[in-house]
């Protein structure tokens, strides 16, 4: 990577300094501002920094950061890996990640759904992992069918790239089907409210627990070579591997299966890769348990209806209380209507605290589902209500999560 032209080297260096200043000033992890400055000096920097490396891109509505972390863990068994581990997933964040690990022969990058086509072109990625597509922050994001169509066009133009795609998500299957090389993974799909329409012809999809097909045009779930079956994964040779992850929940088992399929692309066998995956215990502060004022506070991120389903899946049952925190800033989506797509009834009987800038939206939502709750101003108000030494689960959406981490001093 030392072969960069002078202008690019300068851009990368100045960007790195800006990132450090930002970090020292406590304004964030510095991965965006540095990249923004560097790209302004040298717009082609991302492509230059990616040149000569084996690049994996990870995208989808949910699970990007975790899957990126898992793939990174697997690839680290064969070499150094550059990665945007903290979720800065647009061009600036990617540029910073590559600039900070100039000699790494591998790069695993999570990419915002909208940016996949341009990043795919810039990085000439060897592999792309497509996880899932569902409604998310629709006031700023494109309709997901449009996103899938753009992926489809981009992947059709990248014949050297292997796509690892979730066959259980019809929109993902449609997007990936345009690629030349596809590894299909049956990773499951809990949230189905955005995939009742055939992406090909618009007709109604016929769905069962583990299969789907269009009744009119015949578009159907592709046969998968990797299959998630409860706690076990079946590899392409039909061998069963117990996952045994440290990360909780069905969604993370799905992410792990995708990571295993990506690892195989690089010649890393399932058992070796799994041993690496099992060492991942938290991802960018998520799933971490923090000791706060003598209580054990576990942080879960959920940004959209599909994400809340996954968070509920790992929630500790009563009597462990739960705090829900929702904001509606730009990165969260400014429309809170999606709260009504989440079924909160399973929180009945559990002690529930409600916080965040849009806590009144949550309050009305919970009242409607007959879930008792208590409004709190700050997270610590809820922490103090928990008995000393006790547990508290926190589910927060994006900026609410970041605020809580900041309040906890980024100790995670």
């Amino acid at each position: 990577m030392s072969k960069l032209p002078l202008r690019a080297r300068l851009a990368a260096t100045i960007g790195g300094v800006a990132g450090q200043v930002s970090r020292l000033a406590g304004r964030g992890d510095g991965s965006v501002i540095g990249g923004v400055i560097a790209l302004r000096l040298e717009p082609g920097l991302l492509a230059m920094l990616a040149a000569g490396r084996q690049v994996v891109l990870v995208t989808g509505t949910n699970g990007k950061t975790t899957t990126t972390r898992l793939i990174t863990a697997a690839l680290e068994s064969v070499g150094q890996v550059a990665s945007n581990a903290f979720g800065a997933n647009m061009e600036a964040g990617l540029t910073t990640a590559l600039g900070q690990a100039r000699d790494a022969p591998f790069a695993v990058l999570e990419v915002d759904e909208k940016y996949l086509p341009s990043v795919l072109t810039a990085t000439a990625a060897r592999a792309v992992a497509l996880l899932n597509l569902s409604r998310d922050q629709m006031d700023r994001a494109a309709e997901i069918w449009l996103v899938a169509r753009r992926w489809r066009d981009a992947l059709a133009d990248a014949p050297d790239c292997r796509v690892i795609a979730n066959a259980d998500d019809p929109l993902i299957a449609w997007a990936a089907a345009a690629a030349k090389q596809v590894t299909w993974v049956a990773a499951g799909q809990r949230w189905r409210e955005d995939s009742w329409c055939c992406p090909v012809c618009g007709s109604h999809l016929v769905r069962s627990e583990s299969d789907w097909r269009c009744g009119e045009c015949g578009f159907a779930k592709p046969a998968a070579s990797w299959v998630l079956d409860g706690q076990v994964v079946l590899d392409p040779a039909g061998r069963r591997h117990e996952l045994g992850l440290a990360l909780p929940g069905r969604a993370n088992r799905a992410n792990a299966v995708v990571a295993l399929a990506v690892a195989e692309t690089f010649g890393i066998g399932a058992e070796l890769a799994l041993a690496r995956l099992r060492t991942v215990t938290s991802v960018a502060g998520r799933y971490t348990t923090v000791l706060r004022r003598g209580r054990n506070v576990r942080l879960l991120l959920a940004k959209n209806p599909a994400g809340w389903l996954e968070a509920f899946d790992v929630l500790k049952p009563a009597p462990v209380p739960v705090l829900l925190a929702v904001n509606a800033q730009g990165p969260d989506g400014r429309d809170t209507s999606w709260l009504w797509d989440v079924d909160y009834r399973l929180l009945r009987g559990q002690r529930v605290f409600v916080a965040g800038e849009r806590r009144l939206d949550l309050a009305v939502r919970l009242e409607s589902d007959e879930v008792a709750f208590q409004l709190v101003e700050r997270v610590d108000d809820a922490v103090d209500e928990v008995e000393a030494g006790g547990d508290l689960d926190v589910i927060a959406n994006y900026t609410a999560f970041q605020q809580i981490r900041a309040a906890f001093g980024r100790t995670t």
Partner: protein, 276 residues
């Protein structure tokens, strides 16, 4: 929490094998639909195509109607009709929500072929249509490439595609004839809707875009459409009561305790928008 009752949230949609009847399903006396007799003791709420048209919390409108009826001792029976099922004609209130372009086109195609929703509206049922659903009840709307697609012709309006997407909080003052307080909601659409002589604007826009000509929504008889998410009936309980009243007759006020959280949310949203 002050509510009790049995009509919880409908199951997640996704059971194509038969219309689900949340709330009513557990009751031994659930006799399904009865012929005729609007204003019967149990309100039949029909949610049209939640599998296609429920993009942003449209379920909330149904839950609010259920709750506000229940708090007044009015039983409800909610029917979720999927796009591969016939739309029953004997419902009291029909809800049809928002959706992306392709599901909207598919829904239009199916609903025209089925005829149930238009027939129910013709029989005097209440129809509450939001965003894509609002466009659908007109005579025409714009498809994914902007092409005109025929609508259901339930309301005298037609929609096309505007130059830019309208996204953000909306405030609108309701037609005084309806006697409702200011509306608050969130819009996210690229539609421009022109109202014909057969409907009246629901409201005048104070902040936001709405129909695109300074008006927002439309109504005629018992058919009412709006661009507002929020969901609209959550943020505007008086609008929910208007629809319930059309179907069930005059309604008593609710105790203040039952309105507390909704009122606080509403006050917060009204104050959050400049000009509000």
């Amino acid at each position: 929490m002050s509510t009790t009752g049995d009509a919880g949230m409908p199951e997640q949609a996704g059971r194509p094998e038969g219309a689900s009847r949340p709330g009513g399903a557990s009751r031994p006396d659930d006799g399904g639909y009865r012929d005729g007799g609007r204003g019967a003791s149990r309100l039949r709420l029909v949610w049209v195509y939640p599998d296609l048209l429920s993009t942003y919390g449209d379920r909330g409108n149904l839950l609010v109607l259920e709750r506000r009826a229940r708090l007044r001792g009015i039983g409800t029976e909610s029917v979720l009709v999927h796009a591969d099922q016939p739309v029953p004609r004997q419902g009291d209130i029909y809800l049809i929500g928002g959706g992306e372009d392709l599901p909207q086109i598919l829904a239009g195609h199916r609903l025209r072929a089925d005829g149930g929703l238009a027939a129910a509206a013709g029989l005097g049922a209440v129809v509450f249509a939001v965003c894509a659903g609002y466009q659908l009840i007109g005579s025409e709307f714009a498809g994914e490439e902007g092409q005109p697609v025929p609508g259901l012709e339930i309301a005298d309006l037609r929609s096309g595609r505007g130059d830019r997407r309208a996204v953000g909080e909306v405030l609108a003052d309701v037609d005084p004839a309806l006697g409702l307080p200011r509306l608050t909601g969130f819009e996210n659409h690229q539609g421009v809707t022109r109202l014909g002589a057969g409907v009246r604007p629901l409201a005048r826009v104070v902040a936001g875009t709405g129909n695109g000509d300074g008006t927002e929504g439309a109504y005629a008889g018992r058919v009412l459409g709006s661009y507002l998410h929020g969901p609209a009936l959550v943020r505007n309980p008086a609008l929910a009561d208007l629809l319930l009243g059309w179907a069930a007759g005059p309604l008593p006020e609710l105790p203040a305790a039952d309105e507390e959280w909704g009122r606080r949310l509403r006050d917060e949203r009204l104050a959050a928008v400049p000009g509000g």
